[in-house]
């Protein structure tokens, strides 16, 4: 190769550092453009929301507020914790749901109390000890979904338990409030999978289902009772739907509070609902929010005159679709501290995802409880919280006041203190997880050694359970 060619090749060779610098500079320009567009969208939406009086505000008056509710209100906070030992040969996990009860201003011992209300210890691959019914030989675990699904229905059933006063304490009054850490309703079809031919999740065991309902005589979906928790109703979807329906039927204010907003859909579900409410631009013939509302015989939430034409709405929606603007980003820009938007109904259970085939539950689908969502901005430098309820009650604004003031008790974290506390009390600490795992492996090794296992068998156990970085296998 001639010298000149070598020089040219050397100069065209990409240098990692210079490439990164180049990337930083060029994306910086795009970033600026992106922010400019989001600000424009936010200003536009904010203008419409304020024009139609759809943004409400809570004044921050902590001393006055807390004294005003002293001994008049009981606050229930619910959260679940889970411990899972994902070890080859075992799918053990435990779930516990804790409830923290506070009566602000009560100087007696009634001020606070904690109840580890529901617990579950189970092993998915052990037929006798699992809370799933495993009849199929070809059963394949969907461990994460089974674990999360179990926790979700246990947390939600705890809400009913507290609403009905079937836990440690008496029935709350309508002046009280129940908070659940996380969404009040999840998109549930992904945890169902009963009809997944290739990879089905088995039904829950009857005994487990019975623990979910404090009062089986008073269930919403009558078939559930009639068929005495027949196998058809022991899948995630019917159980969860029933639980949500019961939560919705209660007159006790009940809210799910979400701190981290997941998902990548733009516009996000709340923005999508807000745009539809402002522009009435969606069609009931094509798949979308209005289409879903019609299926479930629901109306739009806000009774407001559209702020523009359908075509305006479609254009704005398109702008959102082009850019990754999640709900929390847009409402972070729209809202000032203490502000929240008037709650709007959001669709979580989509018709197109609803199961077909053996168990389709069509009757359930049309009666599903869908949540009303709002975003509440707690402080200037924190993204707003998403707050969901299945039932807008007269106390809604008063309840937002409590939510806001509870979150301001943690001025940096900006999350309702009661939920933060119950989260700490319920979650399973890592030391327990580690020691359980260690204990499990030790027992297994001991049993293997005691059984006069061959060297190959012992090696297999070690390879299966001990990580490649464990001291057992590190160079001596």
């Amino acid at each position: 190769m001639s010298e000149i060619r070598k020089k040219i090749e050397a100069r065209t060779q990409k240098n990692f550092f210079t490439e990164m610098m180049f990337l930083a500079n060029t994306t910086g320009v795009d970033q600026k453009e992106y922010i400019k567009n989001i600000i424009n969208l936010a200003e536009l939406l904010e203008g419409y929301l304020r024009q139609r009086d759809l943004i409400r505000k809570v004044d921050f008056e902590p001393n006055k507020y807390w004294k005003s509710i002293a001994t008049k209100k009981t606050v229930y906070n619910i959260d679940g914790g889970q411990l899972s030992l994902s070890i080859p040969g075992s799918a053990s996990f435990g779930i516990r749901v804790g409830v923290l009860k506070n009566r602000p201003g009560d100087k007696s011992d009634n001020w606070c109390d904690f109840s580890e209300s529901q617990t579950l210890t189970t092993n998915l691959v052990d037929r006798d000890n699992s809370h799933y019914e495993q009849q199929e030989e070809e059963f394949i675990m969907k461990y994460d979904k089974m674990l999360t699904g179990s926790r979700m229905i246990m947390e939600a059933s705890e809400v009913i338990k507290q609403q009905l006063g079937k836990g440690k304490w008496d029935k709350p009054s309508t002046n009280d409030i129940i908070y659940l850490h996380g969404p009040i309703a999840y998109e549930s079809t992904m945890y169902h999978l009963a009809t997944d031919e290739e990879n089905p999740i088995p039904p829950f065991k009857k005994e487990f289902c019975q623990t979910l309902f404090p009062d089986l005589n008073n269930v919403f979906f009558k078939d559930l009772k009639k068929k005495e928790l027949d196998i058809e109703f022991r899948y995630f979807l019917p159980l969860y739907s029933e639980i949500l329906k019961q939560i919705q039927a209660s007159k006790i204010p009940t809210y799910g509070v979400v701190e981290r907003i997941g998902g990548v859909v733009s516009p996000g579900p709340v923005t999508n609902a807000v745009l539809d409410e402002l522009f009435h631009h969606q069609s009931n013939k094509t798949f979308g929010r209005l289409y879903e509302l019609n299926w479930k015989k629901l109306d739009r939430t806000w009774d407001v005159k559209p702020v523009g034409t359908k075509s305006d709405g479609i254009k704005i929606e398109e702008k959102f679709k082009k850019r990754a603007v999640k709900d929390d980003i847009i409402f972070d820009l729209i809202l000032d501290p203490g502000e929240y938007i008037k709650p709007v109904q959001v669709i979580k259970q989509l018709q197109k995802k609803w199961p077909q085939g053996k168990y389709s539950y069509q009757q359930l689908f049309t009666q599903l409880a869908e949540p009303f969502s709002t975003f509440l901005k707690v402080s200037e430098d924190k993204r707003p919280l998403r707050i969901e309820t299945l039932n807008i009650l007269d106390s809604y604004d008063e309840d937002m006041k409590l939510t806001f003031h509870s979150a301001r008790l943690l001025p940096q974290y900006c999350f309702p203190l009661g939920l933060d506390t119950v989260d700490k009390l319920s979650k399973v600490p890592s030391w327990l997880r580690n020691s359980m795992r260690g204990n499990y492996i030790n027992n297994l090794l001991r049993k293997t050694l005691e059984s006069n296992a061959s060297k190959q068998q012992i090696n297999m156990v070690l390879k299966s359970f001990v990580s490649g970085r464990n001291w057992w296998v590190r160079p001596k």
């Binding site: 001393n63 201003g105 943690l410 933060d420 506390t421 700490k424 009390l425």
Partner: protein, 567 residues
């Protein structure tokens, strides 16, 4: 051992060693200073009970973040007015392991510990031993040890702590505390304990703290149960036999900072060597000095012209010394006069060289009241007396004085550190000698000081036992820790937090280093002395005729001025 009947108060957590372990304490069932037990298995001894002392404790509530506290403060609210959870608080206690015992050892009258050679097992229960077994462990109440009850375990009134009297009298003790920490009360308790056995005590009392023992001798007899007990109060005096008078005067001249030039020293020593100057029967150093002054005056003409030049400076210095000593003597006399009015009787001090038995005898507490004397003079007196007593005791001759304990108050003035530039205190070497050699002859010392950092380190290191009460000065704390091998970092941190009469005791007078609450014997407290209620004293005096007296004096003064003006 009846370990199962003891209350379980916590669970061992975290990493353990043979020296320490931590446990999570349920409720508030023990506190710092408490003794706790946990069971353990060792490869050599099998199942043992591990004894330990709680040295620190941390309390935390993981559900009460700092930012919540800040929000409450900003809003002027209390936690109960809002939300949260206070039952998640927990206490984490750190235990210093004292040793272990085998199960069967509990049946013995006295429990002796052996070292633990295998760490405590995490997750073990921690138990709160009952008073009986703790008394067996801690009391050291063997009669041959001559126990002295000094108080109780800091948080358990029923668990008595005894010092080994014999250990105190064969070795030495340092009592260290800042002013108001309870030194005097602690020492009185220890002295009363020794007095119970009739052990002779020689107290050098700078502030008169121990004069009350004379006043309340009947109470002391009742408390100690020793009906033969006597308390002798001595008037201090600088004494020296004619043979030693020259050296004594030279020493005092030098120590009082009145150093002489070489030529002056030569002339002075020539005079002092003349034994005829000093009366053979006289022992009072002041009188010797006066005679010396008169002698020099009378014989100055006989000197050669060069020596004559030194005479005047020498005489001036002797005059200064006489004046100073006279002044100190008068101040001491005035102070004694106050006490005499309150019923105290002082005796003239004998010559310790010639009559050591008058200082040290069975059933006698001798108090030399040094109030009013400057440090150097006090130090000289202490040095002379202790030197004489030690000489007599160590002579091993028949009829020598008995073994005794010397108590030195304000010890930093008598055994000062080098940094204090008082290394030439006459008593320093004497006391150091007693500490190093005294063990052989039964001449023990109790050093008491509120500024341990100013004490001579070598001397203090000879003390085998320490009682340290409240100490706030960080320099003193660090110094104490550097001298006391058994004191842990946590114990040192506690020194500033001790309340009055609370302290840390270690050394061979006790079985283990412990935190104690010193027994307070109010029957020995002389409240007419050192109440330090000067504002109230002023008010009382002013309201009981002082006001009228002052008015009268002012009027008289004006009248006199008028008369004087007319003259």
């Amino acid at each position: 051992m009846t370990i199962n009947k003891w209350k379980s108060i916590g669970t061992v957590v975290g990493n353990t060693s043979t020296d320490t372990y931590s446990f999570v304490l349920g409720q508030m069932e023990a506190s710092v200073g408490d003794i706790v037990i946990t069971e353990s298995n060792t490869p050599t001894e099998g199942k043992v009970h591990v004894w330990g002392r709680i040295v620190t404790m941390e309390r935390s509530n993981p559900t009460f973040p700092n930012e919540f506290a800040s929000a409450l403060t900003d809003a002027n609210l209390e936690q109960f007015e809002t939300l949260g959870f206070n039952n998640s608080e927990y206490l984490l206690a750190e235990v210093q392991i004292m040793g272990c015992t085998k199960e069967k050892d509990a049946s013995h009258d006295s429990i002796e510990l052996m070292p633990l050679n295998y760490p405590v097992k995490p997750a073990n229960k921690v138990l709160y031993p009952d008073t009986d077994v703790l008394n067996k462990l801690l009391s050291g109440k063997k009669e041959e040890d001559k126990p002295i009850e000094i108080g109780h375990l800091i948080n358990r009134e029923k668990v008595k702590i005894n010092l080994k009297g014999e250990a105190l009298c064969s070795r030495h003790l340092a009592v260290l505390a800042q002013t108001g920490g309870g030194k005097t009360v602690a020492c009185r308790t220890i002295l009363a304990g020794l007095a119970k056995y009739g052990h002779p005590l020689m107290i050098f009392d700078t502030h008169g703290d121990y004069l009350g023992l004379y006043k309340y001798i009947d109470n002391l007899k009742e408390i100690t149960g020793n009906k033969d007990l006597t308390v002798k109060l001595l008037t201090p005096k600088l004494l020296a036999s004619p043979e030693k008078v020259g050296d004594a005067i030279s020493e005092i001249v030098r120590k009082l900072g009145l150093g002489m030039t070489e030529s002056q020293v030569g002339v002075f020593e020539n005079f002092v060597k003349d034994k005829d100057i000093f009366h053979a029967e006289e022992t009072d150093l002041l009188k010797h000095l006066e005679r010396l002054r008169d002698f020099i005056n009378k014989n100055r003409e006989k000197l050669d012209p060069t020596s004559k030049k030194s005479v005047n400076p020498i005489l001036r210095k002797i005059d200064i010394i006489i004046k100073k000593l006279r002044g100190m003597e008068q101040t001491n006399a005035r102070l004694r006069g106050m006490f005499q009015k309150k019923g105290l009787q002082f005796e003239d001090m004998s010559n310790s060289e010639l009559e050591p038995h008058k200082f040290v005898t069975q059933n006698q507490i001798t108090v030399l009241y040094l109030g009013g004397y400057e440090r150097v003079v006090s130090s000289t007196m202490v040095s002379i007396i202790l030197e004489d007593l030690f000489e007599d005791r160590s002579s091993m001759r028949k009829g020598r004085i008995q073994a005794f304990t010397a108590v030195v108050e304000e010890a930093h003035n008598f055994v000062p550190s080098k940094s204090e530039e008082k290394n030439e205190s006459p008593s320093l070497l004497t006391i150091r000698r007693l500490l190093t050699e005294g063990r052989k002859f039964g001449t023990s010392v109790i050093l008491i000081s509120q500024r341990p950092g100013r004490l001579d380190e070598t001397t203090l290191a000879q003390c085998n036992s320490f009682l340290v009460l409240k100490l706030v000065n960080p320099k003193d704390q660090n110094w104490v820790r550097s001298v006391m091998e058994q004191m842990s970092e946590q114990d040192a941190k506690w020194l500033k937090a001790f309340g009055k009469g609370q302290g840390y005791i270690s050394g061979n007078a006790v079985k283990f280093p412990l935190q104690v609450k010193i027994k307070y014997e109010d029957k020995l407290e002389w409240d007419e002395l050192g109440t330090e209620r000067f504002i109230q004293d002023n008010l009382d005096e002013w309201n009981s005729g002082g006001k009228e007296d002052r008015a009268r004096a002012d009027k008289d003064s004006k009248d006199i001025s008028k008369v004087v003006d007319k003259l």
